[in-house]
Assembly symmetry: C2
Homo-oligomer: 250 residues x 2
């Protein structure tokens, strides 16, 4: 499925690392991988992922659709490039001293990136993405936060995965709730539902629903960083689970 180059790497990977220089001889009207990806991201940010069509990207650059295929061999490849470009991590970031605060700071960086480009969450996080520059920078940074921890490499990589997946899931949830403008369940709707969600069939859920703990879901004051309680809860659990694991084996 994913196109591979003669090096055995997915083509998107080689492009992202700049190994796929577009030959610069002959007429060059100024198209490039960078410009194409940037235009596509701009569209995704403002109009959503579904608005990213080859025609829309080309048009926004003032070229014909087909010109894109000089640089990108399929739409899938373009999406992979967008995915990596949406996580622009600086090199050599300094994290807080303690590993706990370090991991939290790292998670917050990821969270910011996901929040500014929520559509990345709709893309499958496949194997290729893990080999791309910004993903690798993120991994490096996560390992930096854990550098003093007495854990195996395998465990550290696992923790990076667990945390980044949690962050992704939390932002996805946050985003879906924020889009409730359209769906907003009315009181009448909830009443209708209660007729069929009986205490007999849902003994544990019904009490929670009746106190508004299930769907009401805190209107999210979206003021600043730390407001999403679900995000904090999960991160707290993971980190204190980690403290536990270290103290019982280190």
């Amino acid at each position: 499925m994913a196109d591979t180059t003669e090096t055995g790497l997915p083509r998107a990977v080689t492009i992202a690392w700049g190994m796929q220089e577009a030959p610069q001889r002959g007429p060059n009207r100024g198209l490039s991988h960078e410009r194409i990806v940037a235009a596509a991201i701009e569209i995704a940010d403002t109009q959503g992922l579904s608005a990213v069509t080859m025609q829309a990207v080309a048009k926004s650059l003032g070229f014909t659709t087909m010109s894109l295929y000089r640089y990108v061999s399929s739409k899938e490849e373009l999406l992979q490039l967008m995915q990596d470009a949406a996580l622009p991590l600086q090199e050599k970031v300094k994290l807080p001293q303690s590993w706990q605060q370090g991991l939290r700071a790292w998670a917050n960086l990821l969270r910011e990136a996901y929040r500014s480009h929520p559509w990345v969450l709709d893309l499958p996080r496949g194997q290729a993405s893990v080999l791309m520059p910004n993903s690798m920078r993120a991994a490096d940074l996560g390992l930096q936060a854990m550098r003093e921890l007495p854990l195996s490499d395998f465990e550290k990589v696992g923790i990076i995965l667990v945390i980044s997946q949690h962050v992704a899931a939390a932002v996805e949830l946050e985003q879906n709730l924020a889009a409730e403008d359209e769906v907003e369940i009315s009181q009448e709707g909830m009443d209708t539902l209660r007729e069929v969600v009986t205490a007999e069939r849902f003994p544990h859920l019904v009490p929670v629903m009746d106190t508004g703990g299930y769907v009401a879901g805190a209107p999210a004051e979206a003021d600043d960083e730390g407001v999403d309680p679900e995000y904090d809860l999960g991160l707290d659990l993971i980190i204190s689970g980690l403290e536990q694991r270290i103290s019982t084996q280190g």
Copy 2:
């Protein structure tokens, strides 16, 4: 975006709860919500989500494309119905006594469901899905596992979210790695990468890569249930974090 009925609920929700009986008068060639959803799931299971087109679903049932629109007002609605139907939980399941084992058993149920219908992971887990019958059964079951725990409703719902998101992410990863037949990075590919992933720019990642801890990723012996170490690691962390939280406040 999502169609709502006069009750204020998304149409997919009312259909899933059986509140949207298709009127049975006049000629009825035997189409129904259930048959349409089942046919669509069959296609997704065998040929992937992208093979689920309105035309393909209709054809597999022996009807024209347009006949589906009598039952489903858009493809999005059909996808929402598929999402819920892919998680067929029995009512009144008995979970192990201890809450730890209960939560593990609950997570394993979810995992099984995701594994048999991996394409659900490609669908956005929106707000509507949380109101559908099987999602609510899953929530009820998760709450059952935690019934004796001294936690607020809010915390319990948060934990259900954290765990189910972790399970989803773990299965997604597992699935992506399993699809590595196509992408399989060659040694030559890794060598090429190493030229650009320098120890100078990736000081913490490079040692891990060189010991094969980053991308090699255990060929997954896929024999039985408990083989995915990343799944276990995350679940362990969450549960022991939970033990911690309870012991310091209960």
